[in-house]
């Protein structure tokens, strides 16, 4: 069974500006939880709080409780580096390491943070690339530079890199926003497969994408420009898209704003 998040009272600041306020959400194991909402509603800030990446921006901080399998990752005794090892992340723009080859990228988590034999690294490479649906496309050029791949392939490489270290949860911050429709479809199929072994939190700008892949969906909104983002409504994806309880959710999904 994969891990789960129990988030309560999470707020985050950039300097003195409150970006998200008092967010609470439970992320169920082996499910895809999607976060939707208009630009500036704090989706990315929220997801970046879940692996303590947010606080690395100068002046930024976060407060609240994020329980990962019963342990608060914001506890004083918690090492943020250890949190980031347990919670993997895929970013908006594909960001393979430009100086490394395809294989070196996949096993970067081990190359940077531990020792493994050559044979183990080869096995990990094949497993992770197969899992990311990229093995057949790149198996003959594992040692060529990663930046030679197409955008969609680079993003699947980044997914392989994040899953190679076997995190407990996978965060995906608009993983398809820089990709064309065909590449997007491949990533979505991949998300459905990854759900078998991982818990996934997916930020998306694209409501259809949330409808297609997510088990549960949360709608975030910052009501006026400058207001902090809040969670307006959470529920099973089908319910959010067919019978939303909140007027504002209904307005957003029917395209009246956002």
């Amino acid at each position: 069974m994969a891990s789960s998040f129990e988030i309560s009272g999470l707020s985050a600041w950039y300097g003195s500006r409150l970006a998200i306020e008092d967010m609470s959400l439970s992320v169920e194991p082996n499910q895809v939880t999607a976060l939707i909402g208009p630009s500036g509603c704090g989706k990315s800030t929220f997801i970046r709080c879940l692996n303590r990446l947010h606080e690395l921006i100068p002046g930024a901080r976060a407060e609240g409780k994020v329980m990962l399998d019963g342990e608060n990752i914001y506890d004083d005794a918690m090492d943020p580096v250890a949190v980031r090892r347990a919670v993997g992340m895929v970013f908006q723009r594909p960001n393979p390491f430009p100086t490394m080859s395809i294989q070196e990228n996949v096993v970067a988590g081990f190359r940077l943070n531990g020792r493994k034999s050559r044979k183990e690294l080869e096995e990990i490479t094949q497993a992770a690339l197969t899992g990311a649906g990229l093995w057949d496309e790149v198996k003959d050029r594992l040692s060529s530079p990663a930046i030679g791949l197409s955008g969609g392939q680079q993003q699947r490489l980044c997914i392989a890199r994040a899953t190679a270290v076997e995190p407990e949860i996978l965060l995906m911050d608009e993983p398809c926003s820089a990709l064309d429709p065909v590449a997007t479809l491949k990533i979505e199929d991949l998300i459905m497969e990854l759900r078998e072994s991982y818990t996934i939190v997916l930020v998306t700008h694209n409501m259809q994408q949330a409808a297609r892949v997510a088990d549960r969906t949360a709608f975030l909104l910052s009501e006026n420009t400058g207001d902090p983002g809040r969670i307006i409504e959470v529920g099973p994806t089908k319910k959010i898209f067919t019978q939303p309880e909140d007027k504002r959710t209904e307005g957003y999904i029917t395209g009246r704003f956002g």
């Binding site: 692996n51 100068p58 980031r84 970013f91 393979p96 100086t99 970067a108 940077l112 890199r161 994040a162």
Partner: protein, 284 residues
């Protein structure tokens, strides 16, 4: 149908083109003539390999001999300056770009580094004279190396910082999100991504230092024998050119031309080597 351009427009077009071409040719004249002059006179003075292996003869009126003492001096001082000040510059840049970006400290240091690149190089000679030569009571290669290093330092700092800031933030986040500590991210991900640019900046600084004359005149002075002692005066190619060119004896003037060609070749080889390294890095 479009009307054909008027004769006046055609004429203006032609005139502008000719004027621009003339400007290009004009600006190339001094450069090319200097190069030709140095190559012709330099090759004439370099009579054989012994030019690079022998010091000048004791008698300034006799022909033969070489500038080995100056080549050794330049290489030695530039080497000492590089070994000490290139790492200092790169480490400083890493701190400014990775650990204190946008802070008052980094803005202040960047401002002073910019000012330092504009300071006339002779002042670095005065500085080295004041803190090394005065205390040691004699001129030395060490004082020369310090003056050259002080010239290289801000160049390396500025170019390295700019190259580090050019590394996309996404690369850093990717590494941090894998659970890599910050220092390891900088060492294994950010620095390799910027290495080509940093190498170019360092080579630029080395070429600049190798050609400096003024700061060496009263720090390293000159020495007509081959010497490897860092606490003693030492010759260098620019100072040898300066002293030789102002000499009354023809053989000394000729050796100065040879030294000039040697210096140009030295800088050219360094630049080409930097290009080669840069291209190979960015190709892989």
């Amino acid at each position: 149908m479009q009307a054909a351009p008027s004769t006046r427009r055609k004429l203006t077009d032609r005139t502008a083109l000719v004027v621009m071409a003339l400007c290009i040719i004009l600006s190339a004249v001094p450069l090319v003539s200097i190069l030709i002059e140095v190559i012709v006179k330099g090759l004439h003075a370099i009579h054989g390999l012994s030019f690079f292996t022998q010091p000048p003869p004791g008698d300034p009126t006799s022909k033969g001999g070489g500038v080995a003492n100056s080549i050794i001096g330049t290489v030695l001082m530039v080497l000492i300056a590089s070994v000490v000040f290139i790492p200092l510059g790169i480490l400083g840049a890493v701190y400014l770009a990775e650990f204190a970006p946008g802070t008052r400290l980094s803005r202040t240091v960047r401002f002073f580094a910019e000012v330092m690149t504009g300071i006339p190089s002779i002042l670095f000679g005065v500085f080295a004279y004041g803190i090394v030569v005065v205390y040691m009571h004699h001129y030395s290669a060490l004082a020369g190396a310090l003056a050259l290093g002080m010239i290289m330092w801000p160049i390396v700092l500025r170019t390295s910082e700019e190259m580090l800031l050019l590394v996309p933030p996404g690369i850093r986040e990717a590494s941090l999100a894998l659970g890599t500590p910050k220092w390891k991210t900088v060492l294994k991900v950010v620095l390799p991504s910027a290495s080509a640019g940093i190498t170019t900046g360092a080579m630029l600084a080395v070429s600049r230092a190798a050609g400096e004359t003024a700061p060496l005149l009263f720090t390293a002075l000159d020495w007509q024998f081959i010497s490897y002692k860092v606490t003693q005066p030492i010759s260098s190619l620019p100072v040898a050119i300066f002293n030789g060119a102002t000499s009354a004896y023809d053989p000394q003037v000729a050796r100065a031309w040879g030294a000039a060609l040697t210096l140009i070749a030295f800088v050219l080889i360094l630049t080409l080597a930097a290009r080669y390294v840069t291209n190979r890095r960015s190709a892989t």
